[in-house]
Amino acid sequence: MTQIIIPHITQKQIVQSISDGKRLDGRGLTDYREVQLEAGIIGSAEGSARVRLGKTEVLVGIKIEVGAPFSDIPNEGVLTVNAELVPLASPTFETGPPGKEAIELARVVDRGIRESKAIALEKLCAIPKKKVFIVFIDIYVLNHDGNLIDASALAALAALLNTKMFKYQVKDGEIEIKPGYTQLPIRNHPIAVTLAKINEKLIVDPELGEEQVMDTRLTMTIEKDGKICAMQKGGSGYFTTQQIMEATKIAQEKSIELRKLMVKG
């Protein structure tokens, strides 16, 4: 994988600036970049949304197909999250099967949705043991400028809220599609908040340059009632217990802020 080289001087500036409590682009330590959201832009998908987080841009498309349930959960639909770091989004992305970076991204987003029980999967069973609906969430990164996790989680949630589910009936053991649509049943709104530690300071929403100088990062996914439903430490540094607890508080606040952008009313 090619590395984007951030000049050494810029790296120093990033760290120095954060030590002084501000960031090179003028943000405060716990400020997100501007979030832009556009839902329903892909007509061939059952649901879709594009999120821009500063210059980071992620498109999520949702497809619903008929398939078999897992044998140990025969009465529930299936959730599948997949991420592609397509090479047009960054000189560091390569063609080929998903690498560990894409797999981690998909799995962190997956856990947030799964653990918060955001999708009412039990309503997606057509014929128990035989036929259920599979919800494919495909994350497509279109421009990488840092913090892919939060942007992807936001786009996935927005796409789910935008997803239309076709009507159907079961006849002779076969699913027949009927005219019209309903909403995909969504009952929770998990928000991922990623914090980076740079020179012992915590910041939120690291951009690409900050990711390259950060010691480590922590993502917390927060449910609409404030419960933490998923967490992921990434990167090779460490946190102290105190930093973890501080991060929790920041994540709680930020999740409320971000959720307001996603879910109106």
């Binding site: 063609t95 495909d138 497509y140």
Partner: protein
């Protein structure tokens, strides 16, 4: 999930299912410079097709053994997003995508002064976000704009468009249902200033006479698209100029 339709594709007045005349292109929107990280990029909407193209290069060749001593290596990758079609496409490149990557590379190659950049490579990534027939042509059209946006010297822009035969009529710029239900589909790419056809494929059944007419129809489509490509680049140029002057 796909749903079935059984509508007639062309009515008695020669009007197509989406309201177009037989020799009419779908509405086309081209925008250059849409991906921040790429050296050049373009976005095209042609009817319900939505395609994004990013260009990286000229840059070092990786893996090295592919290096060409006398010119740049051009690699085009045509890839469909899983959600771009009715039935979800698996992420791994299909045989169709691999073939199209190859013919698109061939269609673009003659337009670039590759000999100016020996021992480098130019990567063109075409991502189909929403597909509705004619994506390889729209992909070529956008790729050529993205290459120009990257500042890569070119002999001419490559404009691409299909023509074909549907319910007995010769038609321009087939959409998906026309391609699938129709009698023939002929995608073609052209450098108009050089009268150079750089892509030509065909599926279906055409007599020699029909073939000649369909080729000519596709050529008129390419020329119209060529104009739109130039406009997109002009708009991009003006936008950049303004941005620079602002600073």
């Amino acid at each position: 999930m796909p749903r079935k339709t059984t509508k007639k594709l062309i009515d008695k007045n020669g009007i197509r299912a989406d309201g177009r005349k037989l020799d009419e292109l779908r509405p086309i929107k081209i925008e250059a410079g849409v991906i921040r990280n790429a050296d050049g990029s373009a976005y095209i909407e042609q009817g319900k097709n939505k395609i994004l193209v990013g260009v990286y290069g000229p840059k070092e060749v990786h893996p090295k053994h592919l290096t060409l001593l006398d010119r740049a290596l051009l690699r085009c990758r045509y890839h469909m997003a899983p959600f771009s079609v009715d039935e979800r496409k698996r992420p791994a490149p299909s045989r169709r995508e691999q073939e199209l990557s190859k013919v698109i590379t061939w269609a673009i190659e003659p337009s670039i002064f590759l000999e100016h950049f020996p021992r480098t490579c130019i990567d063109v990534f075409i991502e189909v976000l929403q597909a509705n027939g004619g994506t390889r042509c729209a992909g070529i059209t956008a790729a050529s704009v993205a290459l120009a946006d990257a500042g890569i010297p070119m002999r001419d822009l490559v404009a691409a468009c299909a023509a074909g035969k549907v319910e007995g009529h010769l038609v321009l710029d087939l959409m998906d249902v026309e391609d699938k239900m129709g009698e023939a589909d002929l995608p073609l790419a052209l450098m108009p200033n050089l009268n150079a056809i750089t892509l030509l494929q065909m599926d279906g059944g055409l007599t020699t006479d029909e073939f000649e007419q369909v080729v000519n129809l596709a050529l008129t489509g390419c020329k119209q698209i060529h104009t739109l490509q130039k406009e997109a680049l002009k708009a991009r140029y003006i936008a950049v100029k303004k941005a620079v002057e602002k600073q």
